[in-house]
Symmetry: C2
Subunit: 242 residues, 2 copies
């Protein structure tokens, strides 16, 4: 715990000082002294790609903020069919208040760096600081909007539109500091083809074919299977069929 109370600015713990979650995430609702208390109980750590963060039907005893990387939330049917039901980027909050158990799996899609703290500490702070719950409600509503947007993609879009929509989603989220007016975009795909398929309700082969089509139509360029170049994001958007 690299908390050093002697070196601070406005009483902000060093741990939190450069943390995005303090501005756009849930921690922004906390008073400096609460932030200090939470920082004391929290620790930063890295989870390797492929490792599980929260198991299905497992006890949840920590909450986390995503500091970097991408977390995938998945659900699986009894016969093994899988669906990714959400992606969490920095500085999203990870955890399910008011429930002992999670109904979904959370897994590191890339190497992920997290700031975790005990559920109990957070739950206590929620009581004394209504602003915290307010932030959580905001995040929950945003996630709900996202989930419902994605339901349209899953239920009504073609494979080609699904893949374009996915690329748009990543482009929007992977680097939030990007100038939204800029037409050329480049990013690394945080998911394998199999994950993309599970996110889109398609097979690996269909995802691959649709990516090839976008490539041959010069909408995107791909290097090393993962690195994507988009010359004009509006052409990609036009293919997402909204």
């Amino acid at each position: 715990m690299e908390l050093r109370k002697d070196i601070h600015s406005d009483g902000i713990p060093l741990l939190c000082e450069s943390c995005q979650a303090r501005h756009r995430g849930v921690c922004g609702a906390l008073e400096p002294e609460q932030l200090i208390a939470l920082a004391k109980a929290s620790h930063k750590h890295v989870v390797k790609e492929g490792e599980e963060l929260i198991g299905d039907a497992e006890r949840i005893d920590v909450y986390s903020n995503v500091l970097s990387g991408v977390v995938k939330l998945t659900k699986t049917l009894s016969d093994g069919r899988q669906q990714i039901v959400g992606l969490q980027f920095a500085p999203d909050f990870l955890g399910r208040p008011f429930r002992k158990e999670s109904s979904i799996n959370a897994e590191a899609a890339t190497d992920v760096s997290l700031c975790s703290f005990p559920k109990a500490t957070m739950d206590r702070m929620m009581q004394e600081q209504p602003g915290l719950e307010h932030r959580l409600l905001q995040q929950a509503l945003i996630e709900l909007d996202d989930a419902r947007d994605w339901m349209v993609t899953l239920g009504r879009k073609t494979a080609a539109e699904k893949v374009a929509s996915f690329l748009m989603l990543i482009a929007r989220n992977i680097d939030p500091s990007r100038d939204p007016e800029r037409r050329a975009v480049t990013f690394d795909l945080p998911l394998t083809r199999a994950d993309i398929a599970d996110f889109l309700g398609l097979t690996i082969e269909t995802v691959s074919r649709q990516l090839t089509r976008l490539r041959t139509d010069n909408v995107i360029r791909i290097e090393n299977n993962r690195h994507v170049f988009v010359d004009d994001i509006r052409r990609l958007e036009a293919r997402a069929g909204n």
Copy 2:
């Protein structure tokens, strides 16, 4: 406004006395005097089947509790393809806090009876009564769980499983007082075949064919197109493919 302060029990407004929303809904978080204040500003009304409650990109200036009936939440792509992204049953809360505009359409799937109150009144109460926000957070998280469950249905289930899943959903929600151990269930479908198709990401024809299949396999019986009898809900559940 049939609020009669002379006849009350524990200061509960008559309007609210028999209201489900007071127990399981958001109003349960309110103190009697707050309930009275809210009741003063609220009014019960009925919206006919097919009428729009909240238009896409329309200002939201009221919140409502659903007292009876079913509300469908829809999203539409620019070319007209539609997806139902949620169904609201009594005593669900209807409205989107923290936003001027709605990104979804809400429409009465059946005749719906609502208890509506001005957004401003509610927003003010949220400030003075953190318990309200707590309830809203709970409802939002439940809706999020539901949405994610449905994403699995949309993305990974077959048409047959989708239709069975839909019937299970209705059976579970239409009459919450039903004994969950009871195997025989009967209910009215609150949606037309077209709506069901929009909810499941299918066409009308496919929905119809799958219903006939369930019928010929003696899993369900249908009268007057809308009234469904299930002899053994476990047989239906087995077809939902979870």
